[in-house]
Amino acid sequence: MREMQKYAYPIFLAVMAVLPHLLNSRWQAVAITFLIFTVVALSQDIILGKSGMFNMGQALFFGMGAYTTAILNHQLGWSIVATIPLAILIPAIFGVVLAGPIVHLRGDYLLVVTIGFNIVFVQVLQNNLGGVTGGPNGIFGLDSLSLFGINLASQVAVYYFAFLVLLATLWVMRNLEKSKPGRALHYLREDQLAAESIGINTRIYKIFAFGLGAGIAGLAGTVYATQYAAVSPEAFEFIQSVLFFSIVLVGGSSIPGILLGVFVMFVLPEIFREFATWRFFIFGFAMIAAMILRPRGIWPATFGKIPKFLIKGGSHGA
């Protein structure tokens, strides 16, 4: 399995790197959506999969990043690229501030509260708070991507922007796995009392997970705003959060599981148009079946990321 993954990732990334040149423009758009939603699902995985917190409001942070980019670009004339730092930072700060008072809540309560946050967020957008969100229509007519004065208006350029964001996300997640904060998330998910009793301030790490997950979702929001040159409230409704939640839960907290989930939820409906109306129905059944047959997800997280010198039954190789 681990051997397989060793080859699977480079192959997957190589395919993704050349993909837009093999697709027509309609499918390029689908591929971009796949990349963006994968990043959001991965960000949700940090909160739900790795830390076990039932966050049902990930679309909020996704939307907040998208609106940050849209507002800064449209109202203030910043270039898309220049909005990136704030499109990460503002959702991340909101993630921390919102998580602070709620992370101690039990799973089901946390779920309800985060749904509430998501609904309030969409209401704020709809009602054009502060006159900057554009109300129900949102904001449209954003600039296209440009870097150092070079205009990158083509869809292929947006694809590579999305691909770069995915690579950055995968890189961060790999760093997280091999770090003290990343392990702390696993420990507190497995057994919070044991984690505290071994010296982990679980609260800090839960808030950290929310901040990090929100920041990454925000970055995905920038790409989303760029793809459509527009943002509108309905793209960030609570039902989107349900999808991200389900993808992590059904796929399992692993990269192949999440890719599979995003593919089934967002790409298959494009291939089989009739499937679009059926996808919730089918996904609902998949969820039920997965939770009964494979409660840890179709492709569960694998642990055991320990240095090689510890394996092989002894210390003598070190």
């Binding site: 770090s179 904060p181 009392l193 010296g199 990090l212 510890l310």
Partner: protein, 259 residues
């Protein structure tokens, strides 16, 4: 900072109408192997929970090295050198033995939150140093062959060893063991005794709860006997063995164990 002493004064913990720990006094001095014994439901585990911050006692004081630790959180107490194991083993069961032990390095690791996002040369060095410490514990507890195995799939006796290894990875000053021999066979119990002596020889004070009378008499330097949350006797194992109150309360109730 005082000496490495743990002093409980009039510690009382109630659950509704039940007084699980009733004005308990005890003093554990540096280098001791200190035992707490008592019949089922006597309040032993509750005492440990009050020391380690899982519960806060309603009354009394828990003093460690001259500092009041009552009311602190578990992780603050770990930070002060007190680490425990659980009567019902609490490992991170889907994670490997090595990862479980690595959790004990958490407070010793110098990595910051942002090292979860990007690494630096010093965070990589820190990571490696801590894995090396895990390796030491794997060797000490003879767990090397299980390093990559998820703990949930291991036999009970090995799980107990992992839990102790995890606690020792913190490099504690005071190690608290809640019935470490429960569920072990005779051979494993003998190994456990040896391990406890070795741990003490490394300068760690040990406080343990034990049901197995033979083991308690063999391993401890000093004992407190509690029943219904109250101390009914204290002394060396020899003194305790002769104490009529203990014989009545402890041995008397042992007949009722299967009620």
């Amino acid at each position: 900072m005082g000496r490495n002493e743990l002093i409980l004064k009039d510690v009382t913990k109630r659950f509704g109408g039940l007084t699980a720990v009733d004005a308990l006094n005890l003093k554990v001095t540096e280098g001791q192997i200190y035992g707490i014994i008592g019949p089922n439901g006597a309040g032993k585990t509750t005492v440990f929970n009050c020391i380690t911050g899982i519960y806060e006692s309603e009354e009394g004081s828990v003093n460690w090295r001259g500092e009041e630790i009552r009311g602190m959180t578990p992780y603050q107490i770990v930070d002060r050198g007190i680490v425990r194991t659980f009567q019902t083993i609490r490992l991170f069961s889907q994670m490997s033995v090595a990862e479980n032990i690595m959790s004990g390095r958490h407070i010793k690791s110098k990595q910051k939150l942002w090292n979860g996002i990007f690494h630096t040369p010093s965070s990589r060095r820190d990571e490696l140093e801590n894995w090396k410490k895990v390796e030491e514990q794997l060797d000490f507890f003879k767990l090397s062959e299980f390093a990559a195995v998820p703990t949930g799939s291991l036999p009970y006796g090995i799980q107990r060893r992992v839990e102790m290894a995890r606690a020792m990875a913190v490099e504690p000053t005071l190690l608290i063991l809640d019935e470490p021999a429960a569920g072990l066979n005779d051979k494993e119990t003998l190994e456990l005794l040896e391990t406890i002596f070795k741990i003490r020889d490394r300068g760690v004070t040990v406080l343990l709860i034990e049901h197995d009378m033979d083991m308690v008499m063999e391993v401890t330097d000093y004992l407190t006997v509690i029943n219904f949350g109250k101390q009914i006797a204290e002394g060396t194992p020899e003194e305790i063995q002769k104490n009529p109150a203990v014989i009545e309360a402890y041995l008397g109730s042992e007949d009722d164990d299967d009620e």
